[in-house]
Amino acid sequence: MTQTNDRSLLEVRGVSKYFSDARHNRRLVLDDVSLKVHKGEFVSILGKSGCGKTTLLRIIDGLIEWDDGDVLLEDQPVGKAQRQRMAFVFQDSNLLPWRSVKRNVELNLESLKELSPQERSDRAMEALRMVGLEDAADHAPYQLSGGMQQRVGVARALARQPAVFLMDEPFGHLDNFTRERLQQEIGALIERLNATVVFVTHDIDEAILLSDKIVLMESDPGRVSKVFEVDLPRPRWRYNVRAHPEAMRLREEIVTDLHLKIADWVQPEGAMVNGSES
């Protein structure tokens, strides 16, 4: 998806964030992070656990405060109105156990005062249809499998009809088979809707499969180390993305990049680390 104009839909500009521990020691978790997301673009934030990628996503959604920098949606600093146009998909599906599947989806619409109860219900059902769960609308969450629960989590975001989807490792807790399937299904759905997505993951293959752009993050403190464009044809569900030469090349590049960093401190067996002879 090449962009004709450079006007971004979502922009993170020089965001920094400190966490304080119990002893009031401040630790820098995000250091001057910037990124741009264009309309219809799928951007993955790729990094190991603890690199601050989820923190970044929560900052974008206004769930936590940050210390420096700006988050802009259509050039406006994000406030309440902007946040209404973003929808978060949690790592655990986070469904309320006392609500039916449909009423869980509706929760995300209950702050939109302009919707009548009937419209809320219609939108919830439509979202459930998109993820293939309209038959489970009246089920209780505990009656669903993990994969189905996560699809409800996606439906909850879809119902919002947001300008930007924020997804925090939505497939991270699923078993391999379910993950493969949901990656394909949700990936195809997002392609069809031409949705704008910021997607947090630690899975290199997943990032390549789904993204237009991959933002690789390093940790301690979290900062953007490199940005990769994913130049693979769409629709991607039509072919085996992993076997595509470009995907393999990109995977190599990302892995090499990570390994180079690791090689800075891991030495081959028996070799002396520089400067340790004294």
Binding site: L63, Q84, F90, N94, L96, W98, L107, N108, S111, P141
Partner: protein, 281 residues
């Protein structure tokens, strides 16, 4: 080979049993409780046999207890007044404890500041044998039901308060971000997420307290009363009227069973997800 055969065999019988059990729910219930029932009946028989060899002031016997119970409920010296006094103290105390426990539990669970400065007192009061407050309450409030109700409240508040506070923290941790992300107002987060989420914890606390109020009632009436089931227990005990003592004991136990039963039922009705979620796992 033999082992696997045997395993297969036992598997298939188990399957059959399951099928049969699920075919009629009455059958399943009788299966589940039949062991308990057998044990209960054999203990009664054992009690009757041993009791018949001893002076009734030691352990009495089931038939003696039953005839005394009948006499108390439907005979010449009825104790309905005492039962009514005890029940009213108990339920007024429980009602007050439910309100106080929920309000303070929510406050302590929601606010880190309140939690910070109340925590030592909560721990202290929860760990204190609260019976020591009884003489003080009698001095302050007199030997009447006020003192007893306050004591029952003191005893019954803690399980509710601690459970509600823990539930509140748990639910807040799990779902507050969801509510914020959905754009819900603070009131709506409490109304739509915290309150329904805390309900099963509240009911768990209430179930424990519903058992404790019976203890509170009996103990306070033994110490600070001239009426009620606890008073009867104390006076029968000092008069070595063991059969009557045990008859009153049976009435108190029935109160406890009814209380706990009602709250278990309430949990099934009002928070079925909490019961079912546990079963699914």
């Amino acid at each position: 080979m033999a082992v696997s055969l045997e395993e297969g065999f036992s598997d298939s019988t188990e399957l059959l049993t399951k099928e049969r059990a699920s075919s009629g729910s009455r059958l399943r219930i009788s299966r589940k409780y039949s062991g308990t029932l057998y044990l209960f009946v054999s203990l009664l028989v054992l009690w009757q046999i041993i009791g018949s060899f001893l002076d009734p002031i030691y352990i009495s016997s089931p038939t003696l207890v039953a005839s005394n119970l009948w006499e108390m409920l439907f005979g010449k010296t009825q104790i309905w007044h005492d039962i009514a006094v005890s029940a009213s103290e108990m339920y007024i105390g429980l009602a007050i404890a439910l309100v106080i426990g929920s309000v303070f539990g929510l406050a302590i669970g929601r606010s880190r500041v309140i939690r910070g400065f109340t925590a030592p007192y909560v721990v202290f009061l929860n760990a204190t044998p609260l019976v020591i407050t009884l003489p003080l309450l009698a001095i302050w409030l007199g030997v009447d039901e006020k003192a007893r109700i306050v004591f029952i409240v003191l005893l019954a508040t803690w399980p509710i308060l601690l459970n509600v506070a823990a539930g509140c923290r748990n639910v807040s941790g799990r779902f507050t971000e969801l509510g914020n992300s959905a754009g819900l107002s603070r009131i709506d987060v409490i109304r739509k997420i915290i309150i329904p989420g805390v309900l099963p914890y509240f009911l768990t606390g209430a179930r424990i307290s519903a058992g404790l109020v019976v203890i509170g009632m009996v103990v306070s009436e033994m110490e600070v009363s001239l009426v009620g089931l606890g008073y009867l227990l104390a006076s029968y005990a000092s008069g070595f009227q063991t059969s009557k003592l045990l008859a009153v004991f049976v009435i108190s136990t029935i109160f406890g069973l009814i209380n706990v039963g009602i709250l278990s039922l309430a949990t099934r009705l009002w928070a079925p997800w909490a019961v079912l979620e546990r079963k699914e796992r």
